[in-house]
């Protein structure tokens, strides 16, 4: 099993533990990752400003992976959504495809639409398989309650991203449950983390984050698990900012899925970059058995 690893911009610059933990987990599960250093911005942050520019940026990434004949594995949900969107639109609209390919031709690239774009969670669920992962789990969690956060851009628009059932998704819950943790039911599990507005309307963004976190807390979660760079930074760094403003709530530590899974696979905390998280998550080791 071989994929081109798409990291996007946030992970190498601000969330290196997501990369290191994903690499460690995927290596353990015999998924080979190929790095394409020419990859650029996924296009997502440009959609507000210029549709064509965002599609072009996404298309260049797809064409680069296609040139290597590799399917893509994406860690960030916003990046995943954007790449799927671009892939979908270029297959739908011949004139858009031609226009984009005309530009890409200058670099000897071409989008043909021959590759699959998958999020990390989909690869684990569909390609590796729950049973194969379960076999390798050496230290399952005990009595650990996890609020599983799906992330908007993986779920919706469902006809394009085709990640899971948009109304009642179970993919991520099952992945969390196989580590021995309990993926709790909570009202706001499919809601937005607030990150898309952070930087342009902080009050609204933080308000949404806070509401979501307190719903998770009230539902009894010990940790919040996510698998997206924007969501994670929002729940980690931005939650820190909210709490430092004198919020009465105790922090709800967010953990990246490969960190959660990695520990139960017996990978050490340092490799998984537990110490890189802003809000301390080392307490999770106390829930491991064996």
């Amino acid at each position: 099993m071989k994929f081109a690893l798409f990291l996007g911009c946030n992970i190498p610059a601000r969330l290196t533990q997501y990369e290191s933990s994903s690499r460690a987990v995927l290596e353990k599960l015999s998924v080979e990752l190929i790095d394409i250093k020419e990859f650029n911005c996924c296009g997502y942050p440009l959609r507000n400003i210029d549709f064509k520019a965002s599609i072009l940026a996404a298309a260049r990434n797809l064409a680069l992976a296609e040139k290597e004949g590799l399917n893509m594995i994406v860690l960030c949900k916003c990046g995943f959504g954007m790449l799927k969107h671009a892939d979908h639109l270029m297959k739908e609209d011949q004139s858009l495809l031609e226009e984009i390919n005309n530009t890409l031709k200058k670099e000897d690239l071409e989008f043909k639409g021959d590759i699959e774009i998958s999020h990390l969670l989909s690869v684990l669920y569909h390609d590796v398989g729950l049973d194969n992962i379960k076999e390798k789990i050496t230290r399952p969690y005990k009595d650990l309650k996890i609020a599983t956060h799906y992330g908007c851009h993986a779920l919706r628009p469902s006809e394009i991203v085709k990640f899971d059932d948009p109304v009642n998704p179970t993919l991520f819950d099952k992945l969390v449950a196989l580590t021995g943790a309990e993926s709790i039911d909570w009202e706001k599990r499919l809601d937005c983390c607030g990150a898309p507005l952070f930087g342009s309307n902080d009050d609204l963004s933080m308000d949404l984050t806070e509401k979501k976190l307190s719903n998770a807390r009230q539902s009894g979660a010990d940790f919040l698990c996510n698998a997206c760079s924007y969501c994670h930074i929002q729940f980690d760094t931005v939650q820190g900012m909210i709490n430092s403003k004198g919020s009465e709530n105790h922090p709800l530590p967010p953990i990246l899925y490969p960190q959660l899974l990695g520990l139960s696979l017996g990978i050490d905390g340092e490799t998984l970059g537990l110490g890189e998280n802003k809000i301390d998550i080392t307490g999770i080791k106390g829930f491991l058995s064996g």
Partner: protein
């Protein structure tokens, strides 16, 4: 005499230029917080910082950086072997030429008692170094003008650098070639060192030997020569010449030139071409030196300084005065090599958004104009600001910069500085601002919020209808052009299916966040879809709802009519921004 005068004039210009440059590093301002720090304080902080660093353990870091990043050019090596080889060939061989050949009186001669430029190994080494520089120059020309990778820009300064180097090297080699063949130089030296005059038998023998073996071109003398004449010439040569002259074949580049010009050598000699070349050669060197502080060759000094400073400085820990000084210096440390642009995450979008300032290598050049208070028109200023903001803050430019420039910090500081001019920047209203949000604690609250408000207001100010509380609008599409553009768009064409059922608005987490959403958001999602259907541009563009959309796709997922609500909002945002740019 002329040589000395021109040397001293150029040296003086070089020194004055360097002092001027240093003064700009201590006075130019890149950060808001250091606006009021005077030059004297910047100078004392710099000296204090340097002394304290050298006396601390950080000196080990400096030594490591000096060898790996400055001497061995590790960063370029890791990025691109071809570029590394090009640069190493040019800079190592040129430095060696400078030390061994140009400064021979001061360095080579005192070090080696038997030094003579025409004796091996020096004769051979000079040509070897010269050849290596020429290979490097050819590789640079190949990269910039033939290979021409996407988005690599070549500006007049890059061309100047290649040309001046090429002139210095070519004039030197051709000069050597014409001197090898020159009869007049030969005659003069024979008179001086062997005491022989033209016409004498011995003179003839020696000349025959030199024509045969040393490439001299003498009038009326041509090989083949009789063995005994060569034998006699050889004896005379060993007596008077060989102690100072190795065989010219060792000077292989010059010898090739001499061989090529053999037929014309007498004419060239009579015309005194070697004297002209000598002037060209040393004047090119002197001009290169005088202009160095103002050209990209200043990086010989500034890039190492930038690499060293960045290896021991930390945002937050280092004296802000020193950070400002370092950033001012970084503008001069940029060699316009294009490494940042080749790795820029945003580079590709220049194909859609025509603004060269998106590319980091061009951005830094434009920003240099901004900090040096050059007159920049409003239109250009806005373009630079747009370019500086169209950045995903992925840090790759900074990671690969061979001069160690902390570009990401430079962009960040310059953005905030440029916001002070109060021009609206619309990219602020996008997830590109995520990084700025994360950095908000380093900006004063007022400076943080003002540009965001300005951007929204600039867009809203174009929407007169939004400002009137009681609206009377016609039900026939009022703006066909606007409607057509939506219909043609890949993402918005579904808007006409809206029948105003409000499912989208009910699903919207942003609407749900407010007690009185209309007051804060203006039009709500279903109303925006409907106004788009009616073709009322102002109402569609003027709502805060547009910019407060999370793009969570709840509305679109739930729409019973298949309207791509989120995508329509995206398209409207694009159009609203284009609409303000149009004016």
């Amino acid at each position: 005499m002329f040589y000395d005068i021109s040397l001293y004039i150029c040296l003086a210009i070089f020194i004055i230029g360097l002092i001027y440059k240093i003064s700009t590093w201590l006075s130019r301002k890149t950060t808001l917080e250091t606006k009021d720090i005077p030059t004297s304080k910047r100078l004392s902080s710099a000296i204090k910082g340097i002394v304290l660093t050298i006396l601390s353990v950080k000196v080990l870091t400096l030594i490591k950086v000096f060898f790996l990043d400055i001497i061995l050019q590790r960063k370029v090596f890791n990025e691109d072997f071809f570029r590394w080889l090009t640069h190493i060939l040019i800079y190592v061989a040129f430095m060696l030429l400078l030390l061994m050949h140009a400064l021979d009186k001061f360095i080579t001669a005192p070090l080696f008692a038997d030094y003579s430029a025409t004796l091996n190994p020096f004769l051979f080494l000079r040509d070897l170094f010269g050849a290596l520089v020429i290979i490097g120059i050819c590789m640079a020309i190949y990269r910039r003008f033939i290979l021409n990778p996407p988005r690599l820009k070549t500006n007049p300064m890059d061309t100047y650098a290649i040309i001046i180097l090429a002139i210095i090297m070519a004039s030197g080699i051709i000069l050597e070639g014409t001197k090898i063949g020159s009869y007049s130089i030969y005659k003069e030296m024979v008179t001086d060192y062997a005491g022989l005059e033209e016409g004498e038998e011995e003179y003839k023998a020696l000349t025959a030997f030199w024509v045969d073996k040393f490439g001299t071109v003498a009038p009326g003398l041509k090989a083949p020569f009789k063995d005994e004449i060569i034998e006699e010439g050889k004896e005379l040569h060993e007596m008077s010449c060989s102690s100072c002259h190795s065989r010219p074949q060792w000077a292989f580049t010059g010898y090739i030139v001499a061989s090529l010009f053999k037929g014309a050598a007498l004419g060239l000699d009579k015309a005194g071409v070697h004297t002209i070349l000598w002037y060209i050669h040393f004047l090119a060197c002197f001009i290169g030196m005088a202009y160095l502080p103002f050209s990209k060759f200043l990086h010989i000094i500034t890039s190492p300084l930038s690499l060293l400073a960045n290896s021991v400085m930390d945002k937050g820990e280092s004296d802000p005065a020193n950070i400002a000084t370092r950033q001012a210096l970084e503008f001069d440390a940029c060699t316009h090599c294009g490494a940042c642009t080749s790795r820029c995450s945003m580079g590709i979008i220049i194909e859609e958004i025509e603004n060269v300032n998106i590319l980091p290598s061009e951005k830094i050049q434009s920003l240099k104009g901004v900090v040096s208070k050059k007159e920049i028109g409003e239109k250009d200023f806005k373009l630079i600001l747009d370019g500086v903001y169209l950045c995903s803050n992925c840090h790759r430019c900074t990671d690969v910069c061979p001069a160690g420039i902390n570009l990401e910090d430079l962009w960040f500081n310059m953005r905030e500085d440029m916001f002070q001019k109060d021009y609206p920047e619309f990219s602020l209203l996008s997830p590109l601002s995520f990084y700025r949000g994360l950095m908000r604690e380093s900006i004063s609250q007022e400076d943080y919020k003002r540009p965001l408000i300005q951007a929204r207001e600039a867009i809203a100010s174009k929407c007169d209808l939004m400002k009137t509380p009681d609206k009377v609008v016609s039900l026939t599409p009022s703006d066909r052009e606007f409607q057509d553009s939506l219909l043609l768009s890949d993402q918005a064409s579904t808007f006409q299916g809206c029948f105003g059922c409000q499912t989208c608005t009910n699903a919207c987490p942003v609407v749900a966040s407010y007690e009185n959403p209309k007051e804060v958001l203006g039009m709500l999602p279903h109303q925006i879809m409907y106004t788009a259907g009616l073709g009322i541009r102002d109402l569609a563009f003027g709502s805060n709802m547009l910019w407060d959309c999370l793009t969570c796709y709840q509305c679109q997922e739930q729409c019973p009519q298949g309207v791509h609500v989120t995508d329509v909002l995206y398209e409207l945002k694009n159009l609203a921004i284009k609409n303000v740019y149009k004016d």
